[in-house]
């Protein structure tokens, strides 16, 4: 299981990376915005995407839309971890096909719960 973590703040990428390692996901790669994430995703081999919303270059919501519009990537599970808390934003992300939405600051338990839920749903399909 290879996970791509996209956030413009290196501290947050490090936090998510460490939490994922605690959950048993040791294989992670990082990108600092949507534009740098896309070539990594398109190169293949990424099984799960964790992305922030507010980033320079390409924002997380646009990355999500691009992923869903890409034939090869459209079924990639996407978990959004963001400080964006407006209702319209959460609805837009849901409509764009996000698999989970976590608001910052978050807990390790929340991250585990959302990831478990995403995998449960994928397995049930």
């Amino acid at each position: 299981m290879k996970i791509l973590i996209v956030d413009d703040f290196s501290t947050m990428r490090r936090i998510i990376k460490n939490l994922l390692r605690d959950l048993g996901f040791n294989n992670t790669v990082e990108a600092d915005d949507g534009l740098t994430a896309l070539p990594i995703l398109q190169a293949g081999g990424i099984d799960f995407l964790v992305t922030d919303w507010n980033m320079p270059g390409m924002q997380g919501i646009d990355l999500l839309k691009t992923v869903r519009a890409d034939e090869k990537l459209s079924s990639l599970p996407v978990l959004m971890v963001t400080a964006e808390t407006k209702r319209e934003q959460i609805i837009t992300a849901a409509q764009a096909g996000v698999n989970g939405y976590i608001v910052k600051p978050f807990t390790a338990a929340t991250l585990k719960e959302k990831i478990d839920k995403i995998f449960e749903r994928i397995e049930a399909q």
Binding site: T11, I61, K86, E88
Partner: protein
């Protein structure tokens, strides 16, 4: 001076010299008038250009009410943002320090017991230990090993919490970036104000700002007072489940 004017002036000057040499007073007077006229038209052209530039600068400035907006709306908002930064960094620092306070005694406890057992073990190896002492050391080791496991788990959990608390850097970093943008905007507007040295006038047809409902805004500073904003992960989950998630 534009090239056309220059050519006209040169022709007029030649004609003037010719007319003067020929003693033609009427012709010399008319050529002299032509020379002055082109000179004036050039001056008028320059003044006109300057006037237009000044007018444009003033009207552009008046059109842009950002400075007033910045003072009335964005500055108080910035104060709240900076207070949010203070509050968030303070909370993160306290949280980290509290977990350090909880972790240090666990590490010391492990160390003290290990040192005690180590000393006993050394005496045992040197055959200086009585059978009673050996039994007591065995009991100590027996209770120490699970304690190592428990304490290590607790230390791991505390370190994870300390790590999570560092998320403040992302949250406050986003807010500080917004404040930097605002300061730059204020600076830009002040420079323009100094350039035109004019007083901003009340603009009647204030442009309605187009609001993008999903524009990324970073952490919400006053989320309790905003119905359009969720307050925690539970509310996110409720909203998503209402959408069939």
């Amino acid at each position: 001076m534009n090239p056309t004017n220059e050519a006209i002036q040169l022709d007029a000057a030649r004609a003037l010299v010719n007319a003067l040499e020929a003693g033609d007073k009427t012709e010399s007077a008319s050529q002299l008038a032509l020379l002055t006229q082109t000179q004036e038209s050039d001056l008028f052209h320059q003044v006109g250009k300057l006037t237009r530039e000044l007018h444009e600068a003033l009207s552009n400035f008046n059109l842009d009410n950002r400075l007033a907006d910045l003072t009335e709306k964005d500055m108080p908002n910035t104060r709240e943002r900076l207070n949010y930064v203070i509050r968030t960094t303070e909370e993160a620092a306290h949280k980290t320090l509290s977990y350090i306070d909880k972790t240090l005694p666990l590490a010391s406890e492990l160390k003290q017991t290990a040192e005690k057992i180590n000393a006993s073990w050394h005496r045992f190896r040197m055959r200086e230990m009585t059978a009673d002492e050996f039994r007591s050391m065995s009991k100590e080791i027996e209770s120490y090993l699970p304690e190592v496991t428990n304490h290590s788990d607790q230390i791991h959990a505390n370190l994870s919490e300390m790590m999570l608390a560092q998320g403040f850097q992302d949250l406050t970093g986003q807010v500080i970036s917004q404040v930097i943008n605002l300061v730059e905007e204020v600076e830009d507007n002040l420079v323009r104000l100094i350039k035109v040295s004019g007083k901003p006038q009340e603009h009647k047809n204030k442009d309605k700002e187009k609001v993008d409902p999903i524009k990324a805004e970073g952490p919400q500073i006053n989320q309790e007072n905003n119905v359009n904003v969720v307050n925690n992960q539970d509310e996110v989950d409720d909203l998503l489940s209402s959408l069939g998630f």
